[in-house]
């Protein structure tokens, strides 16, 4: 039995069955990553284009590794949006790439909706690697995979996501994906970095950190774009750290086995103090490992590969 979705554009509206299948498949790929030879032949002969219009070393590397370990042929296309603006349209770019006979496109773009737009331009399978403020579904999938491996289940767990919620596609994908999986998600950040219409994302939103952390099994800190300070979203890094950063002091009031997560890259000493980031509750590097496994699962399931 395969996925109901043909593309991975986001997690909003993706069924529990589909998410479960991706996570189960990712678990089996995780075993492959433990082997000495970490490559399987499942996508041999498939060409996957990594179309990155926004800088992202880690997500691109993670996808590229996933593709190589599935024996697919990756093709990297990275560019800044500004140079593209002077050149051809996105439709022309994708149609030219498609004309070279490719099978899948992994896309990251600063504009929301680009993955959806690409499905109207090409017959290739589209995987969203982050679109504007909209979604970053493979990040949320790897987060759920990490929680499930750590705590053995998803249903009924409470997750607090802390930081710049408004600008975070990670927060959106997690809120929607985790809700589908029966988790309780609460979003927390300074009022200036929350959606103006707090009901928008469909999960509770608060600017009170203590309220958000109450009963949390998992705490996820988001990366703070430091330039938000100069745009007036908060007065100083110090005040942000004091109100929304997690340090040992705040951690000590949480249950002993609370799971600390971060999508990376971390601003050490801002949203997370180093001792918490490197401490025993942190699963940040496991997230990175699981990212490869989850992306292998997504590409494998959408790419119609042979059995692993």
């Amino acid at each position: 039995m395969g996925l109901h979705i043909q593309h991975l554009l986001g997690l909003e509206g993706v069924s529990k069955d589909d998410i479960t299948l991706i996570l189960d498949t990712a678990d089996s790929f995780h075993e492959v990553l433990e082997r000495e030879i970490k490559v399987v032949p499942t996508l041999r002969g498939k060409t996957i284009v990594n179309l990155f219009y926004e800088n992202s070393t880690r997500t691109r590397i993670s996808f590229e590794l996933a593709e190589k370990r599935l024996s697919a042929s990756p093709l990297n296309f990275s560019t800044s949006t500004s140079s593209v603006n002077k050149g051809e349209t996105l439709r022309d770019t994708i149609r030219n790439i498609e004309a070279m006979k490719i099978d899948m496109v992994v896309v990251r773009h600063c504009a929301a909706g680009v993955p959806h737009f690409l499905t109207q331009c090409t017959n290739a399978v589209i995987v969203n690697a982050g679109d504007g403020l909209h979604e970053h579904p493979t990040q949320a999938l790897l987060d759920m995979m990490t929680i499930r491996r750590k705590l053995g289940r998803l249903e009924g767990l409470k997750v607090a996501i802390i930081g710049d919620i408004f600008h975070s596609r990670v927060a959106r994908s997690n809120a929607w994906g985790m809700s589908t999986m029966g988790m309780d998600v609460v979003l927390c950040g300074p009022p200036t970095l929350l959606p103006q219409h707090r009901e928008s994302i469909g999960v509770p939103v608060t600017d009170n950190l203590d309220e958000a952390l109450e009963g949390a099994d998992v705490v996820m800190l988001l990366r703070l774009q430091l330039e938000r300070q100069s745009s007036g979203a908060f007065p100083s890094i110090r005040e942000y750290r004091d109100r929304y950063g997690l340090d040992m002091d705040k951690l000590s009031s949480l249950p002993e086995n609370v799971v600390i997560m971060h999508p990376g890259p971390i601003n050490r000493g801002v949203e997370l103090s180093s001792d918490v980031a490197d401490g025993s509750n942190s699963v940040i590097l496991e997230q990175v490992t699981n990212g490869v496994a989850v992306r292998m699962a997504v590409l494998y399931l959408l790419g119609g590969g042979e059995n692993a």
Binding site: E12, N85, T89, L90, R91, H109, C110, A111, A112, G113, V114, H116, F117, D131, G132, L133, H134, E135, F166, R169, R172, P195, Q196, H197, E199, S200, I201
Partner: protein
């Protein structure tokens, strides 16, 4: 003659001859300026309304007869907010194609916005537009710029432009950000009895926004344009008008807050008129769907409660005019990612159908109210004499079939552009005949 496969035909006016007598019989004549709404016959001679009659008169051979049984016969419609794009962006629209689209939509007059390239910010450019309009199937009233180059820094020569034929001024596309300059523009315009037409937007609040800020934009991950970015400038411009005593016209009202501000201002006696557009009446931000760029315009589609408030404003008279904000764009400006897509939709050829289907058919506006807001009132605001079927008036007339069912197919548009928000919509009502100065310029079976 220009004919579309659906039979819609433009007949360019032959201004070299006096037009033949014309008789429009059996139509429901709706002329709110004269309080008429009944089946009558309209006799037209030498391009002017000769008489409105209860009996079909004897007529000479050579009189053309239009049987308007079951149809409405109304004063020629006016769209006071249109972007014709000429000069500068003739790839999007020209004065020729834009006026053809207008005639096909039932309009006998349009007011064109000055944000062309170069901007209509001096006498010679106003005169250029007026000269280009001469053989077009629709009258054009140019609107001049408030500031030179629409740059918001110094006043354009408003007096000279008015002398050349400009009927109002605006920096449409943006607000005059400096309140002191806007104050001067309002004070100065008082000498000419023209409206200062206000595009109300606080750029600091709407910067980088691409749709209404709300639940939908947050879900889609698109940066929003908040309602307050419009309302703050509506409030400012009302206060400036109140202080200076000048006359303003608030363009493309899209929010409940703007309607409330205008309603209160009118109660206080501020000289303010207002318009909204068919898309703000018929659509909401939910219609953006999955990033549909043909639902992207500025101001953006708002929520259902804003839409309802705008409709209420039309009903109670707070909003005086329905205009289209016809904004043509080439396909490559719309067939792109949502953030990169140009703002704006075309509307000349769908306005009548959308307004009739959304408001008139449902009994929200009477036919007479629709004619007031699309003909009589915009003529008054611009200080021109159209919009009535009074005896002796220039015979600009629109015949509308209120029962015609049709589906919006952009391929049949006379406009050069296709960026409609209503593609595929099933509408009821369209113009079957447009008469300009007693000459039939548009016909559709």
């Amino acid at each position: 003659m220009l004919k579309k496969p659906n039979g819609a035909t433009i007949i360019p006016p032959d201004n070299s001859r006096i037009p033949n007598p014309l008789l429009i019989i059996n139509g429901r004549v709706i002329d709110p300026a004269n309080g008429i709404d009944q089946v009558m016959h309209v006799s037209i001679r030498e391009g002017k309304i000769y008489s409105l009659l209860n009996e079909i008169p004897l007529h000479t051979a050579g009189t053309s007869i239009i049987d308007a049984s079951g149809k409405w016969v109304v004063p020629g419609l006016m769209d006071m907010h249109v972007h014709l794009r000429e000069p500068g962006r003739e790839d999007k629209e020209t004065i020729a194609t834009g006026t053809q689209a207008a005639a096909a939509g039932g309009f006998t007059a349009v007011a064109c916005m000055p944000n062309t390239i170069p901007a209509l910010d001096e006498e010679s450019k106003i005169r250029y537009v007026i000269q280009r309009a001469e053989y077009c199937p629709c009258r054009i009233y140019p609107i001049g710029a408030i500031t030179r180059g629409l740059e918001g820094e110094e006043l354009a020569p408003i007096g000279e432009m008015v002398k050349a034929g400009a009927r109002g001024v605006t920096d449409d596309g943006k607000s005059v950000a400096k309140s002191n300059l806007m104050r001067n523009a309002l004070n100065y315009s008082k000498s000419f009895n023209i409206p200062v037409m206000c595009h109300c937007e606080d750029m600091a609040l709407s910067q980088k926004g691409h749709m209404n800020e709300g639940v939908v934009s947050t879900r889609l991950g698109v940066r929003g344009i908040p309602t307050i970015s419009e309302e703050i400038v509506v409030a400012r411009d009302i206060l400036l008008a109140e202080y200076t005593g000048a006359r303003i016209h608030i363009m493309h009202v899209s929010t409940a807050g703007s309607v409330r501000l205008i309603r209160e201002a009118k109660k206080r006696g501020v000289r303010v008129s207002a318009e909204t557009c068919p898309h703000y009446i018929a659509l909401t931000d939910e219609d953006v769907g999955l990033y549909s760029t043909n639902k992207k315009m500025n101001p953006p589609l708002r929520t259902a409660s804003d839409r309802d408030a705008v409709i209420e404003g039309l009903v109670d008279g707070t909003i005086d005019v329905i205009s289209s904000d016809h904004a043509p764009h080439v396909p490559e400006e719309k067939d792109v990612e949502f953030d990169a897509a140009a703002f704006g939709v075309i509307g000349l050829e769908t306005s009548v159908g959308v307004v009739m289907s959304t408001l008139v058919e449902k009994g929200i506006l009477t036919p007479a109210q629709m004619v007031e807001k699309m003909s009589h009132v915009p003529n008054r605001i611009l200080g021109v004499s159209g919009g009535t079927l009074s005896e002796g008036a220039v015979a600009d007339i629109t015949v509308i079939d209120p029962d015609a069912q049709w589906t919006v197919d952009p391929h049949f548009f006379f406009s050069k552009s296709r960026n409609t928000a209503f593609e595929g919509f099933s509408l009821r009502g369209y113009a079957t005949c447009t008469i300009l100065g007693g000459r039939i310029v548009y016909q559709r079976a």
